[in-house]
């Protein structure tokens, strides 16, 4: 074998060894980074998932709109400590809607969704900023996306006076659709539609049985 070929082969083998070592190092670094991001995300979720309490909290009856069957939502009356501050009150209501459905079948909002921010403008526009999970984990479909938006909108309008419309953001951004169908670039009217009679928690749990 000519000397030049031997040198080339040697360099090739050397390069391969160096490449493998570097690749394993990169793999380890990527894994560490992913673990660190997961831990950060978990810690952030744990902080955000804590019940929100304020100095002006008073326990009262709230109407929370959860799923009642596979194609509609209905209000359920629950006793909740609610703030006199409308922004905090909205955050408390959305936390309850997300974290504490009476049964898993009544869940409308994906389980790991968190409210990243909530604001109310002077004209009555409520702006709710949700984590990516709301968009990525909501099943695609007009019916399923409509139930998510309606459960949020009806819960807010039923328990907080003065809200006129709702804007939903995902991770601080306006997005085109929730999960491929329902338009999130506009606003949702609040306090404009009649709502069904409230159910008790027990009635709601029985109504939540799938219809198919």
């Amino acid at each position: 074998m000519p000397r030049g070929v031997k040198i080339a082969l040697g360099l090739l083998v050397l390069g391969l060894i160096v490449g493998l070592i570097s690749f394993r190092g990169i793999q380890r670094r990527v894994k560490r980074l992913a673990e660190s991001q997961t831990a950060d995300e978990k810690a952030r979720h744990e902080v955000l998932a804590q019940p929100i309490t304020t100095a002006s909290d008073v326990t009262q009856t709230a109407r929370i709109f959860w799923a009642a069957g596979s194609d509609r939502i209905a209000p359920v009356e629950v006793q909740l400590p609610l703030s006199a501050n409308p922004v905090e009150r909205c955050r408390q209501l959305l936390h309850e809607l997300t974290a504490n459905p009476p049964t898993s079948g009544q869940r409308t909002i994906p389980a790991d969704t968190t409210v990243l921010g909530f604001y109310i403008l002077p004209d009555g526009t409520a702006i709710a900023d949700f984590s990516d999970t709301l968009s990525s984990e909501t099943p695609s479909g007009i019916l399923s996306e409509e139930m998510v938006v309606n459960s949020i909108a009806r819960t807010l309008e039923s328990n907080v006076a003065g809200l006129r419309r709702l804007k939903i953001l995902i991770h601080g951004q306006e997005v085109d659709t929730l999960a491929g169908n329902v338009d999130l670039t506009g606003f949702f009217d609040l306090n404009s539609a009649p709502v069904a009679a409230p159910q008790t928690t027990a009635q709601a749990a029985s109504a939540a049985k799938p219809t198919h």
Binding site: D123, L143, N191
Partner: protein
């Protein structure tokens, strides 16, 4: 105009054995056949596994001045075999909605649209909402009869696919992708016949103007 939703890399809703983009394309072909048997001229916004943008789909529809636009969807949920019709729901302008009197967000009066007029692409459907709702109600009436368990009334929802369409436009969603392929295939003909009856009744009732 029949618009099979999604396509290409956008699969839409996922079932155990079916995905929405394939279900609605197959269904659109059945609906087209049923409508053509009734004498309608039918155009599909896609007839393969492509994914035209919302704007492209609206652009195809907006070329025709005497059309209706039916966007076909298959849901992730709902009782299998039920069908729902939706019309575009726009939020009311904030300045015109005092809290006590904001019950008519789609309250654009049904008036003739000028032959030549500038319209915002973002809400080009707005002048047609009343006609679209009438078409959706007509469709839902047919669905309630043909598909047991379907609701009696259509619903207003801000469906992205309808926003920029300048003819009467509705979304029709079949429940659901969790049905078996045979169940879904069996829906095609009755769905086409129901849509044909509703569109005919809509036209006889004055159509989109």
């Amino acid at each position: 105009m029949i618009d099979p939703a999604h396509g290409g890399t956008d699969a839409g809703a996922h079932g155990d054995t079916s995905i929405e983009k394939d279900v609605v394309l197959q269904m659109a072909r059945s609906v087209r056949a049923a409508l053509e048997r009734q004498g309608f001229r039918v155009v599909l916004t896609r007839n393969d596994d492509s994914n035209p943008s919302y704007d492209d789909r609206a652009g195809i529809a907006n070329v025709y001045r005497d059309a209706v636009f039916v966007s076909l969807h298959a849901s992730s949920m709902g009782a299998v075999g039920t069908v729902r019709a939706y019309y575009m729901q726009f939020a009311a302008p904030i300045a015109a909605t005092p809290v006590a009197a904001s019950a008519a967000p789609n309250s654009a009066p049904e008036k003739p649209v000028p032959a030549v007029a500038l319209a915002s692409w973002e809400d080009a459907q707005r002048p047609y909402v009343v006609a679209s709702r009438r078409l959706a109600d007509q469709l839902q009436g047919e669905f309630a009869q043909a598909f047991s368990g379907s609701p009696p009334y259509s619903a207003g929802v801000p469906v992205r696919a309808l926003r920029s369409v300048t003819v009467p436009a509705v979304a029709v969603e079949v429940s659901s992708v969790s049905a078996t392929p045979d169940q879904l295939a069996a829906l095609g003909d009755p769905l086409g016949n129901a849509i044909a009856r509703a569109v005919e009744a809509f036209r006889q009732g004055g159509g989109g103007r």
